[in-house]
Symmetry: C2
Subunit: 354 residues, 2 copies
């Protein structure tokens, strides 16, 4: 029953939960596949990971994850094409970014083989969990957190790396109206904003709740100094189309180097869509909304791929975006998902066969 | 064997670990008492807490603490006086701050009685764990974290509040040389710096490691805009003595409203030590070091109470602080610990009998 794939030991679950899952009505990240990859850091080194049955994690109350926020994660997706072949999208970028995040949080970096071979072994074992319905995919969540014990405010000496997967439908549903934030901030210069660190997300929830109470769904983050420049949209990168030009802010120590973000930039360039990577001021966006040159705004990230924004609020005024027949958002989303799901050529070499 | 204290159910441990503990050689926060307080948030409400045997926590891999950093904590201490009476120091301030932190992290706030009565019941059950040796105390760690499941980046629907205690010796040992940080930052304007949020600590570890590699023990955090103003010292508030005046920065959304900090301010005022609460520039500190008017720097926090700084580094130059016969640090630390341990009058009403 047990086996070895890519040097990874597989301990199979005795039963499967797959028959309990309604693959036609998947939500996002709420049901979990039968197995997970588990890998422990002890005595100064990562141990070889194992594929094991999905199981609860047992931790001492003094485990540092509960106290000092040492946690980083990634988001990825696996797709099945018409021939039931399984594909990932630029997985090495996720691996590299996980280690970039880990380094900033003083978490030991993972060997590439443990991540990549571990992921492939896990997907091989749970391949029946990968949906093949349009718009659905197997959401993949690699994450690392501190398990070492003690109340001293210092890095832990033990960590756990897990990859867990969840067959998922679309991330967002319905219209997205955003609020351009003028009080709260997501990240500091010299801070951890470029890392996919747990703490970056917890800090966004309360300002987002306040925005939701005002009738918005998400917050557009601005710089913490003067709230003058657009930074990110909720937990996504943001793109703004003024006339025919697509603009997104440069990455920095405050802004996540999104994989969907950079794929959109490359794709747009190759399609001769004018793209500018530069700081975008709130003032510029408001002016563009007023004079009609603001055509589109959308968020970009693994979970939603591209999430169009219908309007934004700024200093008590709401601005609606025009309803266009053809949008960059729709076009680029189709182009990316066609590449991801092996429906089109992949001139960039982004698709990765498992 | 089981009992009820202040309406809190007590489930006692079958055995005790107390005989394994060397109370003469306690480190900080490494051994844990026999019991802990445990309280769950479910279905929109906090359940009544229970005192239970210290035990491991079991969580689903999708529990939001692992992914989205929803965690806050407090640090407190219990002291035993010569008559074996047990004392806390301004515990209601910790309770209030825990809720202030929770609110910012979108964690449901706790009822005061669950915190205070729960804490008293726990200390009653584990009173033998409170050291009575000079310099030692029972370190108390209340903390709240997200246990609710799912990969959606939104606040959890379930949480756990725990109070765990650890008989502890001194937090720091030896000389403390600090580096005035000019690259990394602790917190953003409009961020979560004022909250005792886990993520604030994880973000400090890597810059602190870099400082340690350069021969320092801690980082002095400066504002994230220009690194012009002194903000905090490691995980403590900071005080700077220039000539006879004690200066500390004002609290803000970036700076923790430390209980030791405000106790020092009140105590110094009552002793006619000139105190100024105002922004302190790095330039002012460096100038004062050069002209000899810089007399002392020290960190202030629950764990270390007061931690004197011996010198600092700034832009490649090291500055030593003078060795004084009588320091504010030593004087104020003795005054505070005498109040905490019932060795002196308590004109402020800070001491709290359990």
């Amino acid at each position: 029953m047990n086996a070895i794939i890519n040097d990874i030991e597989i301990i199979k679950a005795k039963t499967t939960k797959i028959n309990e899952v309604d693959f036609d009505n998947l939500k996002f990240g709420q049901v979990f596949s039968d197995h997970m990859l588990e890998c422990n850091y002890k005595n100064g080194a990562w141990e070889v990971p194992k594929v094991v049955p999905y199981h609860a994690i047992t931790l001492d109350p003094s485990a540092k994850i509960f106290h000092y926020g040492q946690s980083v994660f990634e988001g990825m997706k696996a797709y099945k094409d018409a021939n039931n072949e399984v594909w990932l999208f630029r997985p090495l970028e996720n691996f590299k970014r996980l280690n970039i995040s880990s380094k900033r949080l003083a978490i030991p970096e993972l060997p590439e083989a443990y991540f990549m071979d571990g992921l492939k072994a896990l997907l091989e074992v749970d391949k029946d969990w990968i949906p093949n319905k349009e718009g659905s995919s197997l959401y993949i969540r690699p994450f690392v957190f501190a398990t070492g014990k003690g109340f001293h405010a210092s890095p832990a000496d033990e960590y756990k790396f897990i990859i867990s997967t969840a067959p998922s439908g679309a991330y967002f549903a319905g219209k997205v109206k955003v609020l351009i934030e003028q009080t709260y901030s997501r990240s500091a210069n010299g801070g951890v904003g470029y890392a996919k660190a747990g703490g970056n997300y917890a800090g966004q929830f309360y300002p987002t709740q306040l925005a939701v109470e005002k009738g918005y769904q998400q917050v557009i983050w601005t710089d913490d100094t003067n709230h003058e420049y657009i930074e990110e949209a909720g937990a996504m990168n943001i793109f703004i189309r003024i006339n025919d030009t697509l603009i997104t802010g440069p990455t920095s120590d405050r802004i996540l180097d999104g994989i969907t973000r950079k794929s959109i930039i490359d794709l747009a360039k190759s399609e001769n869509i004018p793209v500018e990577v530069r700081k975008i001021s709130v003032k510029e966006v408001v002016e563009a909304a007023k004079n009609g040159s603001l055509k589109e705004m959308f968020g970009a990230g693994t979970a939603a791929v591209i999430s169009p924004i219908d309007g934004f609020g700024y200093q008590g005024t709401d601005y609606d975006l025009p309803k266009l027949d053809k949008t960059y958002a729709e076009y680029l989303k189709k182009r990316i998902t066609d590449i991801q799901t092996n429906k089109s050529e992949d001139p960039f070499g982004w698709r990765y066969k498992v």
